[in-house]
């Protein structure tokens, strides 16, 4: 029996725009186990990012219950949510979201800064995670001196730096060409093999096939398909 790291029950998120109510998440129930690699696919506007923000504790549900590593997230205060984001979750974004004024290694240090780690130790950790994604030679480059794929590696290194158990990637390959996408996916698969739990949003079926599980979302409702790495081999 594998331990559930994320458990969501009957989660509802609605956006009210005047009289118009958009139900971005409609009674979502969903469990992720430790070491899982879940791909979430669905059309634009189906609620993927909303779900991701919920998992990442950036947003709170209107209804339902969310338990992350034993914490009941929907009852936590802002300060505690910030702590969870810092220690339990690593975000990877479609457009990298690196800070342009900071070098690669300084970007990677950011989550450690908010953890209060000492400068020397911080630098070591950051370099280690840059090493892990194979971009340590660009540690002192600024983001605008790096290619898209390199920037995304730095962003992954930043997500990894605090060694959070969960990595959330919202279309990490969305801004990259297919070859670079492939490389980034390889990095993520590698990380999953090293025991990181990964949740990945993508438009790209090929990308999704590489995950262990695939979840479809449409109009805020989830349906899970039996898509695993082994089966994907059969499909092609």
């Amino acid at each position: 029996m594998v331990e559930a790291i994320i458990h969501m029950r009957d989660l509802v998120k609605q956006y009210k725009m005047g009289d118009n109510v958009v139900t971005a998440l409609d009674h979502v129930t969903f469990t992720v186990e430790k070491g899982d690699f879940v791909a979430i696919v669905g059309p634009s506007g189906s609620g993927k990012s909303t779900l991701m923000n919920m998992i990442g504790c950036l947003d709170k549900p209107d209804q339902g219950e969310y338990i992350l590593e034993g914490h009941t997230v929907n009852t936590l205060k802002d300060v505690q949510l910030a702590k969870i984001r810092n220690e339990n979750i690593g975000f990877i974004f479609q457009n990298f979201n690196l800070l342009g004024r900071l070098t690669a290694v300084e970007n990677v240090e950011l989550p450690l800064i908010y953890r209060g780690m000492k400068a020397k130790e911080r630098r070591e950790c950051a370099l280690r995670s840059l090493e892990q994604v194979g971009i340590v030679d660009r540690a002192n480059h600024y983001p605008n001196q790096l290619s898209g794929g390199q920037q995304q590696r730095v962003a992954i290194a930043r997500a990894l730096a605090g060694t959070p158990p969960i990595l959330l990637a919202d279309e990490p390959t969305g801004a990259l060409d297919s070859k670079t996408s492939q490389e980034i996916m390889d990095v993520l698969i590698q990380l999953n093999n090293e025991d990181h739990t990964i949740i990945l949003i993508t438009h790209d079926r090929d990308v999704a096939q590489k995950a262990k599980r695939m979840i479809m979302i449409s109009d805020g409702r989830l349906t899970e398909t039996e898509g695993t790495q082994h089966e994907s081999v059969h499909i092609h």
Partner: protein, 387 residues
């Protein structure tokens, strides 16, 4: 995040946009530097007024007699000298004369007075002696030279014991005054002093129109003034014939006018500091909007409200502190330039500089809080979506 890291980060953001930072700090720089320059110059001029009044003589009363119908004589002066609270009385007679030593001539101010004049006016003799009461009694043709006059007429020679011509009459030099410098339009270096009785004859007057009275001490100054006024009233029978001026009153008035001016100017400069603070607030608001995305990113990786608030607050404070420091520097330089260019006294007050600097810090904190608070309250999802 540690304070040191925050300050380093803030410095970095400021360096990334130097021109904007400079323009933002300009209000603070102008405010702090003008406060410092104005106060230093103001206090300097206060001090020089006080100094120059003091150098005229201490506990001094100046009596001017405007009534020439009733003759005021040495006997009347002696009566005033008998008043308990009065230590010395010196009648004075002033005029301009031409001095001649061999081929050298010069025009100077001449003062006729008595032996007490030396103590009354805080004078000292560097060479020879001052006028004595015997000189007074015998209308001796003796003369004491100011240091500059001695230099002009005798050069490197020792003037004491030599003769010179005053308006054609031969006088014997008995002493030279110590150099003192000018004060309040009078410069004793550039004058000569002869016995009062001799001066009366030289200038052709018999009346005494002005005399100085020196009180025993600070405390007896007012009593002396009252007694002299009473005495003069008895002599003249009305109070319009004379005026008695108290040195202290003049000094107090002058320095209070000066202080008021200084405070007024410093007040105006403080308003500039306030305006500078508003400038900082303005730019910080712009900065928060520009960096919305950054705030979103920081929040998504675990920055707390407090962290974001501190980041922006520290940036505002670093800006204003930097502005304050530059302002102190410019203020000091401006004051120095003024002092050198005009030869005036200035007073550098460390307390004032500290105050101006701390004030700029406080301005930074007060006006930095609003934008920082706005930044810290941003919703992370919306901030992340911001382009």
């Amino acid at each position: 995040m540690s304070l040191f890291t925050s300050i380093k980060l803030a410095m970095r953001n400021i360096k990334g946009n130097k021109l904007r930072a400079l323009l933002t700090m300009l209000g603070i720089i102008i405010g702090v530097s003008s406060v410092i320059a104005l106060v230093s110059i103001g206090q300097g001029s206060s001090k020089s007024v006080t100094d120059s009044i003091n150098s005229l003589g201490t506990h001094l009363l100046t009596v001017n007699i405007s009534n020439t119908d009733v003759p005021f004589t040495m006997d009347d002066v002696d009566k005033i000298n008998k008043i308990d609270a009065v230590k010395n009385v010196s009648p004075v007679l002033s005029g301009r004369v031409t001095l001649k030593n061999g081929e050298t001539t010069t025009d100077v101010a001449l003062t006729g007075s008595n032996a007490a004049y030396k103590s009354v006016r805080n004078l000292s003799v560097s060479n020879g002696r001052f006028i004595t009461d015997i000189d007074m009694d015998y209308r001796q043709k003796v003369i004491v030279l100011g240091s500059e006059t001695a230099q002009t007429l005798f050069g490197m020679e020792n003037p004491v014991g030599q003769k010179l011509l005053v308006n054609g009459d031969s006088y014997k030099v008995v002493g030279v005054l110590t150099e003192k410098g000018g004060s309040m339009g009078e410069n004793t270096d550039d004058t000569v002093i002869i016995p009062f009785s001799t001066a009366q004859r030289l200038l052709g007057t018999t009346h005494i129109q002005q005399f100085y009275a020196q009180a025993k001490n600070e405390a007896s100054l007012n009593i002396a003034m009252m007694m002299i006024e009473r005495n003069l009233y008895q002599t003249f029978g009305d109070s319009d014939s004379y005026t008695v001026a108290n040195q202290q009153d003049v000094m107090d008035t002058m320095s209070s006018v000066n202080d008021t001016m200084t405070m007024l100017l410093a007040g105006i400069a403080s308003i500039s500091l306030l305006v500078g603070g508003i400038g900082i607030m303005n730019i910080m608001f712009v900065s928060v909007t520009e960096r919305t995305k950054e705030i979103g990113i920081r929040k998504s990786i675990g920055a707390r409200r407090k962290d974001i608030l501190l980041q922006f607050l520290i940036e505002a404070v670093v800006l204003s502190a930097l502005g304050g420091l530059i302002g102190v520097g410019i203020g000091l330089i401006a004051t120095k330039i003024y002092a050198v260019a005009t030869g005036s006294d200035v007073v550098y007050s460390v307390a004032m500089m500290l105050f101006a600097f701390l004030f700029s810090l406080v301005v930074g904190i007060i006006f930095g809080v609003f934008p920082a608070n706005k930044a810290s309250k941003l919703n992370p999802i919306q901030a992340l979506r911001f382009e």
